[in-house]
Structure formats: C-alpha cells, structure tokens
C-alpha cells in the first residue's frame, strides 16, 4: 500500500482544459471518493493516476515514486472498470489470477489469493465459466476479484457499480465497504452517485468543471458544504435555497423574518456587509410543526407558518412534500408520523442550527465551520 499525491495536476485536450490545477493527497490506507456530475474531470483524474491518460502538467506520485512518465504496466496499480473489461476468452479463474501471475507471484500465493478472493466475493461455483456466461452482477464481482487479487499499491475504481440495478448496487456497495475495512487499501473511487460517495469515502472530493470544489469527510460535505454547488449536489432531494434580504439582524424573505443571531456560527459583521444572502435549508431538516416531537434544549426552532402544500409524494417511511416558499419551489422530507395532505395549509419548523447561509454573488458559504 502507498499514498498517492497529485500536485498541480492539469489535463487538457488541445485547448480544452479538463482538469485544472488539482491538488490531492490520498493517505496510505485511505479510501477517497471523487464525485461530481458528468464531465467534471473525475474519471480523467483517475485515468491519469492509472497512466491511461497522460498528464498535461503537474506531478503524480505513488508512495515515493514519481510516476508521470511510467506506463501503466509499471505503476503497480489495480483497477475496476465501469464495463468490467473482463478478458472474454479466459475463465473467471484465469481472469482473476492474470495480473497476479504477471507480477511474478509463486503458485502457492496465487492459489491462496484466488481462494481468498473467490470466497470473499462468492465466486467459487463460477470459476470455470467464461464472462459471457455470467450475469452483470457476477461479472462485476469478477472484476472486483481481479483487482483485489493483486497486491497493488493503490486500487482504482471507475464507476464500478453504475451498470448494476438498484438492489445489486446497494448490495455491492456494502460489500465494497466491508472489503475496504478488511483490506484497508489505498483506493480512489470515482462515482457520480452521491450515496456511494457518502457511504464509502473516508474523504470525499467534490469536483465540477475540472476544479475541486471541496474535500472533506462525508459529514463535513453534507453539513458544511463550501458553496451552493456542493450543497445542492450532495443530498437528495437537493437543498432548498431562498434569497433573503439582510435587514439588520434579520433575514427577510416572503413574509418570514429569521433572526440571524439564532443561526449557528454566523458572523454578524460579515452579514452586515451583504444586502442579500442565500438561505440554505435541507429538505431533511424540516419538521411538521403539528407533531409534538422530543426536543433537546439546544434546538433553536423557527416555524414557517401558512405553508400551502402543492404535492405529497409518499415513499413509505418518508414522504416528500412540495410547496412554494419565497417564490421558489421547495421540498421538505417528513416521515410517516406526519399526516400532511395535498392543498392543506401547514406549518413547518426548522432547527436554525442546521440552516446555512451563502453569498449571493460568489455562492460561497458565509458560516464559519464548526464542529461536525
């Protein structure tokens, strides 16, 4: 195992920049997830680490080796591809040990590794089959097995679960998390799925247009997003943003006046220099005021009264309700204890400790980072 260091890494195709000045250190044994929308440069970054794309500018280091000019076969990495890329003419067994053999492992090691991997991924009964005779989920496991059998310095995952159906994806996600804890491998994992990012990553790197928007633990990213992009990209449904006027120590939008002093970690001096701010409230943090829920003394509730419910989507335990607030379409996620109906007028409460403020023009967060 090794650390991976990317220093001022740039990638462009002709004049088109794909990755801009990326700096990242993946520590030994750390599982880092790169997440972002399509075209944000996350896969390109991964492929530069793998050596499948050359680096336009900057340095990449694995352990203490500079690898910029090393071809992929000399980098000692393992990778799981989005489309699995299994060798079609080889059996599952041959696929799994192919890289291991090439690395010069002796017969005994190959045997134990194969047994380990095939037991862990439950591939025992498929070892003699060809990839064409396997289902998508099984192929995915073989691809994982091929990577895990290797004794690589770093393991790379390029959207490995995106071709699976929802149930299998969930299952494999848990498997990967389990394997990661067992092997404690250095891994870089690329996904556009924020749930994978949140559940798998020791740290999450959120990217957009070739730029790293934020690096942090999953909970930091969720609770203290660096800007509105991260705030709305991570979390589902997306965070609600309302533009509010700053009126002294109050934030005004629609007919509501929120006492800014009650919002956690707000610097009133900073606030005073803004005419307007964006108020960010995650749908998860709304509560139905009609329920008498257990409160803790630190709770700092603010009630949005007279909310007209436009639509209710029942999802079983959860329900998502859609309404209009301050001229914006907004969403709240309530649970089954709430009996809100469509067209009803209700009151929604929110804990102001959970409310975030962003700069209207720079979209940056205006709240000092606190404890997560």
């Amino acid at each position: 195992m090794s650390s991976v260091i990317l220093r001022n890494v740039n990638k462009s195709y002709g004049n088109l920049p794909i990755v801009k000045n990326l700096n990242l250190e993946v520590k030994d044994g750390e599982f880092v997830v790169l997440v972002g929308p399509s075209g944000c440069g996350k896969s390109t970054t991964l492929r530069m680490v793998a050596g499948l794309e050359d680096i336009t500018q900057g340095d990449i280091q694995i352990g203490d080796r500079a690898i910029n000019d090393l071809p992929p076969h000399k980098r000692n990495i393992a990778m799981v591809f989005q489309n699995y890329a299994l060798y079609p003419h080889m059996s599952v067994r041959e696929n799994i040990v192919f890289g291991l053999k090439k690395s010069g492992a002796d017969a005994e090691t190959i045997k134990t590794k194969l047994a380990d991997v095939s037991e862990m991924l439950k591939l025992d009964e498929y070892l003699d089959r060809k990839p064409a005779d396997l289902s998508g989920g099984q192929r995915q496991r073989v691809a994982m097995g091929r990577a895990l059998a290797r004794d690589a310095d770093v393991y790379l995952f390029d959207e490995p679960l995106s071709n699976l159906d929802a149930k299998l994806r969930h299952h494999m996600r848990t498997e990967i998390a389990r394997i990661q804890h067992q092997y404690n491998m250095t891994a870089i994992y690329v996904t556009h799925d924020q749930i994978e990012a949140m559940t798998l990553g020791d740290r999450v790197v959120v990217m957009r247009d070739g730029i790293v928007e934020q690096v942090g633990s999953p909970m930091e990213i969720y609770l203290q997003p660096a800007n509105t992009f991260v705030a709305t990209f991570i979390g589902s449904p997306a965070m609600n943003l309302f533009e509010a006027k700053v009126d002294g120590e109050e934030l005004v939008f629609d007919k509501y006046r929120i006492p800014a002093t009650s919002i956690a970690n707000v610097d009133l001096n900073v606030l005073a220099s803004h005419d307007t701010v964006l108020v960010g409230i995650r749908p998860d943090f709304f509560e139905d005021s009609a329920l008498s829920l257990q409160r803790s003394p630190s709770d700092n509730l603010f009630a949005f009264d007279d909310i007209q419910v436009d639509l209710v989507e029942n999802l079983g335990f959860d329900k998502e309700i859609m309404f209009t607030l301050g001229g914006e379409n907004a969403k709240a996620r309530l649970d089954l204890r709430s009996h809100v109906q469509r067209q009803e007028t209700i009151s929604l409460s929110v804990d102001l400790n959970r409310v975030l403020l962003f700069d209207t023009s720079t979209q940056g967060m205006l709240i000092n980072a606190g404890e997560v």
Partner: protein, 289 residues
C-alpha cells in the same frame, strides 16, 4: 397445435424462398461436380465421344510423377501464401489501427494491389524480374553487387515458385488486412487498458488481448485463403506458367498437349475430396462451429 401449424407454414415459406438459390447452385455447382465425377471414369475424345474405362484415369494419375510433383509445388505454394498473407495482413491491420496523420489515405492505399487487375500487375512483376532490364537484377547486381550473375528468377521453375508466392502475398494480403482490421476496430479499448493495468507491455497486450480477440477471423482468413489458393489459376499461370501447381497441372492435362479431359476430371475429383475433407476437419477442430 397452433404453434406446430405455424412452424410448418414457416418451414414451407423458407423452402420457397431458398428454392431459386438451390436451383442456381444446383445448375452451376452441383451439376458440374457430378458431371466431373462421371467424366473421370471415361476416356474423352475431342469430338465428344467417350469410352468407359473404369478407374484407369485414376491409376494412370497415381502412377504419374508429374502429379506428385505438382502436389509438392501446391503444398509449398499454399503454405507460403496462406502464412504470408495472414501474417502480413495482420501486421498491416495492427499498424493501420494506430492513430496517425493520413491514416485514412494509407488505409485505402493498402487495398490497391487487391483491386488492381491481375493481367496488368503481372506484366509489372515480370518486368521487375526481367533478367536484362528488370529493376531486381539492376539492384542486386549493379547497385548492391551481391552477385555477378543476372538471374532469370521467373524463367527458372524453382525460383519462379517463390516469385509466384511473393506475388500472391502482395496481391492478396489486403483481403486478410481488411477482415482483420474490421475485427480489430471492434475490440473494446478497455480490454487493452485492463491488460496494461495487469502489468502487460505492448507485446503482452498483443498476445493476450489482440490475438485471442482475432482468433476466429484469423482462422476464417486461413480457411478462405486455403480454398482460394488450392484452386488459384490465373495469377500463377499468367506470371509463371512453368510453376505447376495442381490447377496448372490439371489445365495442362485437360487442354494442352495430349488433351485428356477424363484424366483432368480425375485430378479435380481427388482435389475436391481432399479439400472437402480438409475443410471439414478445419471447421470442426479449429473454428469449432
């Protein structure tokens, strides 16, 4: 019940649809084959009169040393041309699958020998190897001074065989190239990437990804080349009529000197049987259809 009626109707329609093709093949292929087998048991005169002579044509043939010589020549010709075109075609396909400037033009130019008319390129080749004015002798003797004597490579049947093999490789490798390139383009890129990640250098990737992916096309190319070249006549005859491969020998038997169509028919029958046997084995064991 209903489904069996549907299947029957379907089968009947199928028969109707293939009937014209079967008719044409029967007329143009099956009939001549049977007529050929029939002829091989007769002594055929030029005026068309036939005398039944049983297996005499076959026993004469099997006692003819020229027949065995032509089998030997054919085997060398087949080995040389099949291996040559396949290897050269594969090399060209791999090369033309790389990205470089003017690739599309190069891809097209490679096909030139294949669609150039035989008769015109044959004259070109004869001119190259001409003992007096040919560029080959000029380069070997006058420029490189490798030897003092000017050789008539095409005039001598032994060396002419190799000129004929070279000519066939040059003329027909584009078809191997074309088939292989088409398959090569459909090999998923990520297989190469996976192999690189698994520690394989360029040669290892060729060996472990390209070759297995091309296996069936290569086998098909070899099969087609064997079939075509076992029957190849015009290229050999036009360039060097002194190279007696089986088809040339058959032609001399049937139409030149002592005209012996019955004997020629006997050669074809044996050749057909051998070819069918070979292809059956090949399809079963190599292609595994």
């Amino acid at each position: 019940m209903a489904s069996s009626i549907l299947i029957k109707n379907e089968a009947r329609l199928g028969l109707k649809l293939v009937a014209p093709a079967i008719g044409i093949i029967g007329l143009l292929v099956i009939y001549p084959i049977f007529f050929n087998v029939y002829l091989s048991f007769f002594d055929v005169q030029l005026n068309g009169s036939k005398t039944f002579i049983g297996l005499d044509n076959y026993s004469d043939l099997l006692a003819n040393p020229r027949y065995y010589h032509s089998i030997g020549v054919s085997i060398i010709y087949l080995l040389g041309t099949v291996i040559g075109t396949t290897v050269l075609g594969l090399a060209a396909a791999v090369l033309m699958n790389q990205e470089f400037h003017f690739r599309n033009i190069a891809r097209g130019l490679i096909l030139l020998p294949y669609f150039a008319p035989v008769i015109s390129v044959v004259f070109g080749w004869q001119f190259i190897f001409d003992p007096v004015n040919g560029i080959y002798n000029h380069v070997v003797v006058d420029v490189l001074h490798l030897t003092d004597t000017r050789e008539n490579l095409i005039g001598n049947p032994d060396s002419a065989l190799f000129v004929v093999i070279l000519f066939d490789i040059w003329k027909h490798f584009p078809i191997a190239y074309l088939l292989l390139l088409a398959k090569l383009q459909s090999v998923p890129k990520d297989l190469y990437e996976a192999a690189a990640i698994d520690g394989q250098n360029a040669w290892g990737r060729f060996w472990h990804v390209t070759l297995p992916e091309l296996k069936f096309v290569i086998a098909t190319v070899v099969l087609l080349r064997i079939i075509w070249n076992l029957n190849r006549f015009e290229d050999v005859y036009l360039l060097a009529p002194n190279v007696e491969t089986l088809p040339i020998f058959t032609y001399y038997q049937a139409f030149a000197g002592i005209v012996d169509q019955g004997g020629a028919a006997a050669i074809s029958v044996i050749q057909l049987l051998v070819l069918v046997g070979l292809i059956w084995l090949y399809v079963r064991k190599v292609l595994k259809w």
